[in-house]
Amino acid sequence: LDSLLQEISIMEELKQLLHDYMTSVPGVLGIILSDKEGIPIIRCKLDECPDSAMKTQFISAHCTAAEQANKLGMGTNETIMAVYKNFQVLHMNHAGVVISVIATADAVLNEVKSTAEKLKPLVQDISLAVIDPV
């Protein structure tokens, strides 16, 4: 029970950390960390972020896209940024974990990308828990 409570408090701390990253950049609405198959590890969003954007179906599309992008003859795909009329979505692959950031169309894309880059050390630690033991 103690270890379970400890895990819950660690998850809450992680969510708070993600929330802090989110609120530090104007326009960022949600951050999701997921494994390479799109299964969410941790999610954090503001009220303005569409709920459907946090779902597995949305995140897992990136996995297929990244696999396809690897066949373009430009090496392994690292980042995909999609600019829509009202939103911007960034997917970054790092150490087997996918960092997904959803932002408004007004957000500065470079700042959104920097937010994802800043999460890399955190993701490095989380990746130890999600990589396949070989």
Partner: protein
């Protein structure tokens, strides 16, 4: 009518300073025109089919999960290069460059081409 040679010459104009190739294709992946500075291992038709697949995935995602939002541009960063794709009427313009090219420059080149080709391609009608 569309003049393929002229279109290829226009696409060739962005292939400077690290930009390797430029493709124009339909949303179903059918290649309309392309220009490659160097011969790469990937067949341009295969490349355009893959790129259109990626575009279609995100386009569908936007329609389904982001309140029917419309995809306008995509930027991909890979180990050995960068790709920018932008919608131009019902076609997709795709520019591929080396890793050394800054994404902003690639985006600007794409914007310039889209602005230049938008009106003439509208006159050709449904492609």
């Amino acid at each position: 009518m569309l003049k393929p040679r002229v279109l290829t010459d226009v696409l060739a104009q962005v292939t400077t300073e690290g930009v390797d190739s430029c493709f124009l294709f339909r949303s179903d992946g059918t290649l309309i025109a392309h220009y490659c500075l160097t011969s790469s291992g990937t067949d341009p038709r295969v490349g355009s089919a893959i790129a259109s697949n990626i575009w279609a995935l995100y386009h569908k995602n936007g329609r389904g999960s982001l309140d029917e939002d419309r995809l306008q541009m995509m930027m991909l960063e890979c180990d050995e290069g960068k790709i920018v794709m932008k919608l131009i009427n019902n076609l997709i313009l795709c520019i591929c460059a080396k890793q050394s090219v800054e994404m902003g420059m690639l985006g600007k080149k794409c914007d310039a081409l889209v602005e230049y080709l938008e009106e003439p391609l509208k006159k050709v009608g449904n492609l």
